[in-house]
Symmetry: C2
Subunit: 635 residues, 2 copies
C-alpha cells in the first residue's frame, strides 16, 4: 500500500491505492477544511504534492489555482488520488484551526483552554493483522481524535493496569481523560462508554478565615456550583500566626487535614448542589497565602514567622490531589499557585492575574486590604510589591462603634453640609448598629468636607452643633441618635476613632508612595488602581481619595476586582496558558521590605494627615477642601 | 555591584567591582578552563567582552591573541577586571567539557553516564539580605555545582517536606540526589552531610526461571555486588504459560509479590555482601520477557496467551521502585525495558543492546536459544525479529540420555574417525551421567563426520562396530560404556534422539533463513552471529554450523554475548543515553509471525537435514562432508 507523508508534520498514512489524499490526511489524524464535504466544490482543501505521481483533474478543478500554483503541485485533497508513495505539503490555511472558545470569568474574557480533555473513542479491537498493545491502541485513538501524539502522553501505572479490562468490558468504546501538567501530557483516566459530558475542575480560594470553591464545567466553562465555608483550622487558632505556632508544636498534620476537610466540605456542597460526581473533577487549582498553601501541602511553615522569614517553597506545586487529601478523582491533579515570599503569596499572584495588570503596558497599582495589606505596582515588564499591617480599624475593629459588614452596619453615609445631618444606608436596611469599613471611610471624608475634623483628625469643638460634643474622654460626633439605632444608644465616632483610622490608612498610602518612589513613578503615570477583596467592592472611590487611603487619580481609573484569589484560580483552571504565566509573574516581582526602607517612615508620617501633608499630591482634594473651607467660613 | 551576563547562556553574576571575569563565571556556575590556576599563563580562559568597559593588560597578555581577536574583545577571564555591567561571550573551548569516563561492561566499553547524580552542597544560611526559599536555595546550590538548572528540576512533595529540617539540622551541609527520568530532572533525596560516596544502582535480569541482580557503584561504574536466585513464581507454575493461567485465576497480585520478593532477596544478598545500604540504591533497571515485566508491574498478562496475543503495554515503563514493592530508596526510580510484542520482550531488546548490533552498519544475526528461541536480523537501520519453540532437545530434554548442564554432563565430545572411539569432557570432570546441549551438538556433528549417521539422521547399521547397535527399538550409538559412566549403564544416543535434535535445530535454522529471505540478505552479508544465553557460551561454533543449527558463516564472525539481558540492563543503568535508544530499537523491529509466513514451513522442511537439503547454503560443510565420505569409503 502506498504511504503518504504529510509535511510539515511528517505524519504518515498508508492507504489503499486509489484513496484520496483527503482520506490519507484523515487517517494521519490531520483535520482538513472540507466545507463542501469533499465534493470538490469549495476549494478549501488545497495541498501541494511535493513528490510522487498524482492524478488530479486540472480541467475540472484547475479553476481554483493559478498556473504557478499548479506547477508547484497544488491540488484538491478531496479530488486527488494516491497511487504510489508521495509527499504532500498541507498549507496552514487548509487545516481546521482549533476553535477558540472565549468565556467570561467574572468580567474577564478569556480563552477556554483547560488543562483537561476527554476523548470519546471507538477503537477497533486487536486482530492478528493489528496486534498493537492496548496502551498504544488507546493512545493512537487519542492522537487520531486530535489529541496529543501517542509518544507524548505519559501513562501512569495505575491507569495502565485498568486499561485491558475497561477496553474489553466496554466493547472498545471508552473515554480517555488527558491532562497537561508541567512535565507533559498524562493519561489520568479511562472510563467505559462516552463520558465526555462529565468533565469538571475546581478553583479554590484557601483563605485564613474563609474557603471559596467554584466547580466549573470544563467543556463550556460554565459554573456548575459554588460553595464557601469557614476554614476549620480556626479551631487551632484564629489568626495566621497562631496557626503557625500550632504547627510548630506538632500540629502540622492536624492543620493539613483540617484544610483538606474544609475544602472537601465546600467541594461536596458545591458538587451535590450541581449534581456533579466528585470523581469527575479532574483538576483542583488552589490560590492562598504562602502559609496556607504550605500547610495544605504539609510543608513546614515555621520558618516564615521568624527571621529571616523564609518559605520552604515559592514555585508552583503540582501533585495528585489525593496526596493532599482532597476528595476528587483518583488521579486528578492539584495545582498550587506560586508565591513571591512569605507575605506575597499565591492569593496576591491570583489578584494580579485577575486584574490583568501583568499583561498590560500600562502601569497599575493593586491594593488588597485586610488586617494585613498588600500593594503591587507595575506592568508587564516590572513589578514591585510590599506588604504590611494596617491594623483592624478599616475593618471596623478598634473603633468604638466599628463592626464587620453584617446586618445593621452603616455602609454608606453622607452629611448635609448645611445642617450636618447624616443620611446613611445600612446593610439589610435594618436600624443601624455601628459602622463598617466603607461607612467609616465615607464618614471620615464627610467630616473633613464639613470641616468637623481638620486634616490631623482633630474634631473642631468650636462648631456649635448638638452632634459635636465633648464625649467621655475625647470629642465625638453623633452619627445616629439612640432612638433611630438598633442598639438603644447613640452611635458616635470619637476623635480617637478618627486617629486610629488615619493611622490605618496612612500605612496603606505610605506603602503605595514608597513603591512609587522606588519605581520613580508619579500618580499621573498610574493608569489603574485595582482594589482586591470585598472591601474594595463597597467603598466610595472618591472618599478613598479624599481621606488619602490611596493616591489621587481620576476616579474612573479605580476599579474593584472582587475576590481576586478565586478569580485568579478560576482563570488558571479555565485557561492553562495562564498557569505558565504565574511563575513568570512571581519571578518578575521585586519584594520591598517596608521596614528596611528608610523612606517608608517619612512617607508614613506625611500620610498621617488627611489626605497627606503634601497637598500637591492631591490637587483635586485640595481644591475641594478649599471650597469647603470657604463655605464653612472656617479659618 | 556590577552584573556580568555571560553569553550564550545568559547566566548572570553580580560581583564586587574589581573582581575578575573568571570569578564572576565561577559564581554563575560556569566551569572555565584554568589550567594554570588563574595566573595568566596558560591562555585557556579566553572570553570576548561584548559590552561594558574592561581592564585588560594587553602588553602583558596580548601575546595570546591576534589583533583581530583583541579587537573583538578577546581577553583572559582570569586577568580581566569587572568595573561595570558587562556582557561576556564564553567560547566553547574555554569551558571545561564534562570528562567522559569510559568503563567496561562485560567486554563492552561504554561511557559512564548514569541517570543519578549526587551533589554535596554547602549552602549559605538564609538571611534578611537573602531570604530565598529553602527549595530555591537548594536547587541553586545544585545548579552552581554544575547540575541542572534550578528551574529544570522537579521536586516531589515528599522530598520538599523534608528539606527545611534536613537543611537546618545539617548546618546547611547536605547531599542532594537528582535523577534524570523521561519527563526531566527529579530531586529524589536530600541527606545530611556529604554522602556522595554512596550512590548505587541495580540492574536486574528478570527471567522466568532465574533472577540475576547486579549492584553497581554509580560513581565509578564498578560492580559492588552480584547475586542470583530462582524466580519464586515457580511455586505457581513452572513455565510461563502456567504462570499466566495462574494470573487469570486471580493470582496476579500473588505473582507480582513473588517477583518482587525474588528480586528483593537477590538485592539484599548482593547489597549485604557488598556492605551497601539498600536505601542508597537510587535506580533499578529491569530487563525481562514481556510477560514477566507485565507481572512485575501488576499489569494483566492474560491477553498475550490467546489470539490475537496483545500485550497491554510495549513502551518502556518508569515508576517509583517502591510501587513495585522493591526494597530500595523511597523515591528511587524503576525503569522497565520496552518490548516489541508478546514474544520479543525487554530481554531481547537488552540482547540487542548488549550485542551492539543496533549501532552498527554491519548486518548481524542474534540468536537467543532456550526452550523458546528468538532470532533478530538487521543493523542500525532496520531489524526483523521472530520467535518460536525449538522444543527441549537442545537443552537435553526428550533425549534418552540428555540432561541439563550439571555435574557429569558430557559438554564436549569428539570421535576418533578411524576407531570411532569418543573422547569427551564432563562438567566438573566426574564420570559421565549423560549429555547436555553442547555435547549433543558436538556428537551430532561427529556422527555425521564419521558417516555413522546420514544427512537425514539415520544411523548406518551397515557399519560393523561394537558401538553401533540395534538398540531396543531403534538403532543407537554407544557414547560411553557402563563401566566408565557414573550411572552404571551404557550412555547411548538413539536414532530417535538424533531426529528430535534435528527437528529442534531445524526450527532455529528455518527462522534464520526466513528472516534472511524477508530482508533479502544472503549469508555472505552477515557480518556477525551473536549467541545470547548460557547455551551460546559453550557450544562449538564449527559444529553448530556442521549440523546446520545456524547459517554457514566464517566462524570468526560468531560470538557468544553471554547473558544479554543482564548485560543490557547494566548498560542502560550505567549510561542513560542507552535508555533513550531502547524505544528506538523497539520501534525499529518488524516482528515476523513465523506461523503466518508460508515460506517458513518450506525452510523448516529443508532444514530437517544435516545441515540442510540445499548444500549450496553450506559450501564449507559440503566440502568437509565430501572428504569424510571419501575417507570412510561411504557411497
Amino acid at each position: 500500500m502506498p504511504t503518504v507523508t504529510f509535511l510539515p508534520s511528517f505524519r504518515k498514512a498508508e492507504v489503499k491505492s486509489g484513496s484520496t489524499i483527503l482520506h490519507a490526511a484523515q487517517q494521519a489524524g490531520i483535520h482538513m477544511n472540507v466545507v463542501c464535504g469533499g465534493q470538490g466544490k469549495c476549494g478549501k482543501c488545497t495541498v501541494y504534492v511535493k513528490s510522487g505521481r498524482y492524478d488530479f483533474d486540472r480541467e475540472k478543478y484547475g479553476k481554483f489555482y493559478s498556473a504557478e500554483e499548479l506547477d508547484a503541485g497544488a491540488c484538491l485533497a478531496c479530488q486527488t488520488v494516491v497511487t504510489e508513495d508521495m509527499r504532500v505539503l498541507i498549507p496552514e490555511e487548509s487545516i481546521v484551526q482549533e476553535q477558540k472558545i472565549l468565556i467570561d470569568v467574572m468580567g474577564i474574557t478569556t480563552e477556554l483552554n483547560p488543562a483537561v480533555w476527554k476523548y470519546a473513542l471507538t477503537l477497533s479491537p486487536p486482530s492478528l493483522d493489528d496486534p498493537s498493545p492496548d496502551l498504544t491502541r488507546l493512545l493512537w485513538g487519542i492522537e487520531k481524535s486530535g489529541g496529543p501524539k501517542e509518544g507524548d502522553i505519559y501513562a501512569p501505572l495505575e491507569v495502565i493496569r485498568r486499561i485491558p479490562r475497561v477496553l474489553r468490558e466496554s466493547g472498545w468504546k471508552v473515554t480517555a481523560t488527558v491532562v497537561l501538567v508541567p512535565g507533559g501530557y498524562r493519561l489520568i483516566d479511562i472510563e467505559k462508554g462516552d463520558t465526555t459530558a462529565s468533565c469538571y475542575g475546581a478553583a479554590v480560594d484557601l483563605g485564613t478565615t474563609t474557603i471559596v470553591v467554584f466547580i466549573r464545567n470544563l467543556i463550556d466553562g460554565s459554573i456548575a456550583g459554588v460553595a464557601s465555608n469557614y476554614n476549620r483550622q480556626i479551631s487551632c487558632g484564629e489568626d495566621i500566626l497562631s496557626r503557625v505556632t500550632f504547627a510548630r508544636k506538632g500540629g502540622l498534620k492536624k492543620l493539613q487535614s483540617l484544610a483538606a476537610e474544609s475544602i472537601n466540605a465546600a467541594l461536596t456542597e458545591a458538587a451535590n448542589n450541581a449534581g456533579v460526581d466528585r470523581d469527575d473533577i479532574y483538576e483542583v487549582v488552589v490560590a492562598g497565602n504562602t502559609i496556607m498553601t504550605h500547610i495544605l501541602m504539609e510543608i513546614d511553615p515555621a520558618y516564615m514567622i521568624e527571621e529571616p522569614y523564609v518559605p520552604v517553597v515559592r514555585r508552583y506545586l503540582t501533585a495528585a490531589a489525593t496526596r493532599a487529601g482532597l476528595d476528587v478523582g483518583e488521579n486528578s491533579g492539584l495545582f498550587i499557585f506560586p508565591a513571591v515570599s512569605d507575605f506575597i503569596g499565591g492569593d496576591i499572584i491570583a489578584d494580579i492575574l485577575a486584574s490583568g495588570m501583568a499583561e498590560s503596558e500600562e502601569i497599575s497599582l493593586l491594593i488588597d486590604i485586610g488586617t494585613n495589606f498588600e500593594v503591587v505596582l507595575g506592568n508587564r515588564d516590572w513589578m514591585f510589591a510590599c506588604a504590611g499591617a494596617a491594623g483592624p480599624a478599616l475593618e471596623g475593629g478598634e473603633v468604638l462603634f466599628g463592626m464587620r459588614a453584617n446586618a445593621g452596619a452603616i455602609e454608606q453615609i453622607s452629611l448635609d453640609l448645611e445642617t450636618l445631618t447624616p443620611a446613611y444606608r445600612t446593610i439589610q436596611h435594618v436600624k443601624p448598629k455601628g459602622l463598617c469599613g466603607s461607612g467609616l471611610i465615607d464618614l471620615l471624608a464627610e467630616l473633613l468636607r464639613a470641616c468637623i475634623i481638620d486634616r490631623t483628625g482633630r474634631i473642631n469643638m468650636a462648631i456649635d452643633h448638638e452632634r459635636i460634643r465633648a464625649g467621655r474622654q475625647v470629642p465625638e460626633f453623633v452619627v445616629a441618635w439612640k432612638e433611630e439605632t438598633g442598639i438603644g444608644k447613640d452611635i458616635v465616632i470619637t476623635e480617637n476613632d478618627v486617629k486610629a483610622l488615619i493611622m490605618s490608612k496612612a500605612s496603606i498610602l505610605a506603602a503605595c508612595l514608597t513603591l512609587m518612589n522606588q519605581a520613580g513613578i508619579t500618580r499621573d503615570e498610574i493608569s489603574h488602581i485595582y482594589f482586591s477583596g470585598a472591601f474594595g467592592n463597597f467603598i466610595s472611590k472618591e472618599n478613598a481619595i479624599v481621606i488619602g487611603l490611596i493616591p489621587e487619580v481620576p476616579v474612573e481609573r479605580i476599579a474593584p476586582i472582587g475576590n481576586g484569589a478565586i478569580e485568579g484560580a478560576n482563570l488558571a483552571l479555565l485557561n492553562r496558558r495562564k498557569k505558565k504565566f504565574l511563575d513568570e509573574i512571581a519571578r518578575k516581582i521585586a519584594y520591598i521590605e517596608l521596614n528596611a526602607e528608610p523612606s517608608f517612615m517619612d512617607e508614613y508620617t506625611g500620610s498621617c494627615f488627611l489626605p497627606h501633608t503634601d497637598l500637591s499630591l492631591f490637587p483635586v482634594v485640595e481644591e475641594m477642601l478649599e471650597k469647603c473651607r470657604l463655605r464653612r467660613g472656617a479659618p
